[in-house]
């Protein structure tokens, strides 16, 4: 206890000054660990030999002052305060063999380790940032000639492509919208016109086949079309009273003649 009093006395002024500075600038600390690290500097000793008990007292004092000044502390600062209060009690009381869990010394050692580790990280971060850095101290090639990618496109075709291509051109004419091919169709209009011209010469019964136009009687397709058209035209002319038509028996030849 006496030892503690002594320590408190020796650092009280610096401690108070530091604490006041901290209260003003509490926002500037990155959490309880950062604050503890700052507080530990007031001990001016190697972090490995730091008095965690003393640190706990400083921290708790800081929290008390902050409360007194109605400064709202973030929850993690208060959690840390609670934990440090617990740690403090552990460190001050003689170890209770019946109590479970780690000893106060173990907990203190771990806190000291955390502080030392954070401090070490800050130091190496500073060393890292102080290195000769690219773009600040050291420079890369200003006018990089990056590897030019030459993409050669090689076109190929096979003989089949060629043949198909040619075939496509040679048969292109047949690819056209579907229309009835009129070439082998003899329309009724054509037949009517033809018969009107010839009707004057049909005084006698004449077989309808004789009326078919030239070139339409050999090919079966053309003959069929011409025959049908001529027959239909004949019926039309009969209806108009210009022609007479007859068939002697079923499948017998159909004959026409000018109406008498």
């Amino acid at each position: 206890m006496g030892d503690d009093n002594f320590q408190e006395d020796t650092i009280s002024v610096a401690d108070r000054l530091a604490a006041e500075a901290l209260i003003v600038d509490v926002e500037g600390y990155e959490g309880p660990l950062d604050l503890l690290l700052t507080l530990s500097r007031t001990q001016k000793v190697d972090l490995r030999k730091i008095s965690v008990l003393e640190l706990a007292r400083q921290y708790l004092a800081f929290v008390e002052k902050a409360k007194a000044l109605r400064i709202e502390l973030a929850a993690d600062y208060l959690v840390m305060a609670a934990w440090l209060a617990f740690l403090k009690s552990r460190l001050l009381l003689p170890p209770d063999p019946s109590e479970e869990g780690p000893s106060g010394e173990d907990l203190a050692a771990h806190l000291a380790f955390q502080l030392e580790r954070l401090q070490a990280m800050r130091e190496v971060a500073a060393r890292l940032m102080a290195r000769d850095r690219l773009g600040r101290d050291v420079f890369a090639r200003g006018q990089g000639e990056d590897v030019m990618r030459i993409r050669t496109v090689r076109f190929t075709a096979t003989l089949l492509d060629l043949m198909q291509g040619y075939a496509r051109i040679r048969t292109r004419d047949e690819f056209r919208p579907f229309v009835m091919d009129r070439d082998s169709v003899f329309t009724m209009e054509q037949a009517l016109e033809r018969m009107r011209g010839l009707i004057g010469f049909a005084g006698d019964w004449t077989e309808i086949a004789a009326w078919l136009p030239d070139g339409w009687d050999s090919d079966p397709v053309r003959r069929r079309s011409a025959t049908a058209a001529t027959f239909a035209a004949s019926l039309e002319l009969v209806k108009q009273g210009q022609l007479e038509i007859r068939q002697s028996a079923t499948f017998a030849p159909i004959e026409v003649r000018k109406r008498q």
Binding site: G142, V147, R151, V153, R154, A157, M163, A167, D173
Partner: protein, 222 residues
Amino acid sequence: MNDVTEAPEEEEKSLFAAPPEGEQERMVEAMLFASAQPVTVRDLEARMPIGCDAAEALVRLRKRYEGRGVRVVKVDDAWAMRTAPDLGFLMQKETVETRKLSRAAIETLAIIAYHQPVTRAEIEEIRGVSVSRGTIDQLLEMEWIRLGRRKMTPGRPVTFVVTPTFLDHFGLESARDLPGLKELRQAGLLENRPPPGAFSMTDQEPEEEDDEVTGQPELFDE
């Protein structure tokens, strides 16, 4: 007059000892290396400690890089470092991409092969569409076609013929080896036509066939 201007210069030189020659050379080297643009002697000196002679350092640096993979070159009135021209091949990465020839190109090529020597107008007549300059250029570039003799018709139009490279690619000994219309039909490539013997819908076919038979060999008789 000369004395007046030289005097302060001398003074300056003595006041600020210029870095040794080797050091100046290093500086110029680093600046040329890092700069995105060629740098003038003036700019170099402006960045170097007082009393430095960039021009002098450049001469030495240029000599040092002689025969190396990198050279010190003058660009207009500025200086730069560039890779040696004979190593340009290292700065390129070649990739070959194989692509199918377009339909227009294949058809044009086929017409040239079957009808050579053929003029552009004739190709267009056969294809029924105009042939783009690019298509012809592409085939010329591939060395599959070349210009043949001019046609003895008004305007003396140029003709196109296929090349040995073409024959080589398609595994043909001569253009005459190209399958004729009859063979194409037998191969089913002309199956859109009515089978022979059947009533023909288009009556121009017979003559065309004749043309093919008589025209074809003549075309290849060069």
